[in-house]
Symmetry: C2
Subunit: 263 residues, 2 copies
């Protein structure tokens, strides 16, 4: 689907409701028309605007479930992931998390916890996605598991700094990942090779957790933590299903990930 | 503070933790240096990247409480609000909300509810913020209330379309705003003039609610709704404090707002 089709589709999806409202615009702000047909020269600019808007939809959790990134946003997502945009966003979320971590008072019972997701939160699978279209291809679990089994995923450096900081502040670190229990050893080894040490728990999906939505699985595990007397103060994840649901942490931090969606 | 100071400050804030980590970079992705000093020609580009990243932090709820937008992002936020960016984001969130609204099955008891915030969700205060630096100025409640009392805030058109759609689907509409009960009449009149009709409840801050954080106040009101037997399926707001807390809706929709933050 070319850019023209993209705009056409966008227009078609929105136009019925647009026109039905024209008569009730009592107040209207003076604004440029949004859905105008782009000039040759500004077509790329239009696609960038559309894809930036799409990315904000992803990061604000506004989008309905999706399986691949929009075809038109392939280059945009590639440029974002490989350029400064992704790095800046990672730095910022790490920095804001650290400001919060330093601001909270921890109890004397060592029951204050920071939860981290693993993939695209502590470890980067970008080397895999570089080879698989940055989210343009439908997720292939067989191929992806081959990559995971190599145990070669690099650290996300700003997350590693945060990790070490919350450890040194006295938080317990619980790692909560949708990876299968079968991959405990390779996951632990990969994490240690990448510099992550001294976590208190590494929680993976056991047999009875397979088939559960990530949000349900992770909520159940957080409920268990709370029942055991832990206080979840911080939670870092690249998916909203890492962060929302039950027993939510005091503050949640959403790492950027425009490449895939896990419900 | 000029752009140079901005980058310098950014560098200073992050550099201690950066250098302490250099020795443990077992795996490292080949990436351009993030914190390099920008060329003359690309300085504007750098500021745009930084401000886009800041805006991502706002919309993903990663930022710690803030009172004004970063000085360097004044032009960026103005361009976003007055250009296509804001409009595209409003269109997208309205569209995704409507897809969700149409996908859910409503009960026969008319107890399914969609909650809407008012300011920057149904009504736009952009005409006020155009005169007050798009968030560069510290919020002035006296000046803002004068604007509110005019009752002239225009509709956010994509929200009006969503509003009418969820009404026609059979949802009850509850408006939940941090505005004071004293402004009930002007608020209702403004909403009606802007095209919003047939809401079931308009809930404002009563005397006992003043001084409560918005998140607490709105959570309490949602808890009441649930106790009365209502099911909150959708919730639209431009602040995370509209959406998070207790009795959260099945789906929350975050409208863009890079101009101000309400805890």
């Amino acid at each position: 689907m070319g850019p023209l089709m993209f705009f056409l589709l966008y227009f078609l999806l929105l136009s019925p409701s647009l026109s039905s409202q024209e008569s009730v615009n009592v107040h209207q702000l003076p604004r440029p028309l949004i859905l105008e047909y782009p000039d040759e020269g500004t077509e790329q600019e239009e696609i960038n605007l559309q894809c930036t808007s799409w990315r904000f939809g992803v990061e604000a959790n506004n989008l309905n479930p999706w399986k691949t990134i929009p075809q038109e946003c392939g280059d945009y997502v590639k440029n974002y992931m490989m350029g400064k945009g992704y790095q800046l966003d990672l730095e910022r979320v790490s920095y804001e998390s650290s400001v919060f971590a330093k601001s909270v008072h921890l109890g004397d019972d060592s029951n204050d916890v920071w939860v981290f997701d693993v993939d695209e939160t502590l470890l980067s699978n970008l080397p895999y996605y570089v080879q698989h279209g940055y989210g343009l291809e439908v997720f292939d679990s067989v191929e992806f598991d081959k990559w995971v089994d190599k145990g070669m995923a690099p650290a996300i450096e700003p997350s590693l700094r945060l990790y070490e900081e919350v450890l040194s502040l006295g938080f317990k670190i619980f790692l909560l990942t949708g990876r299968s229990e079968k991959r405990r050893d390779v996951t632990a080894q990969n994490l240690m090779n990448a510099g992550f040490k001294n976590w208190d728990k590494l929680i993976l999906r056991d047999t009875e957790d397979h088939g559960k939505l990530a949000m349900i699985f992770k909520s159940e595990k957080r409920i268990e933590m709370v029942k055991e007397g832990f206080r979840i103060l911080g939670n870092s994840g690249d998916q909203w299903s890492d962060l929302l649901g039950s027993a939510m942490s005091t503050r949640s931090f959403k790492l950027p990930n425009p490449m895939y969606y896990i419900p």
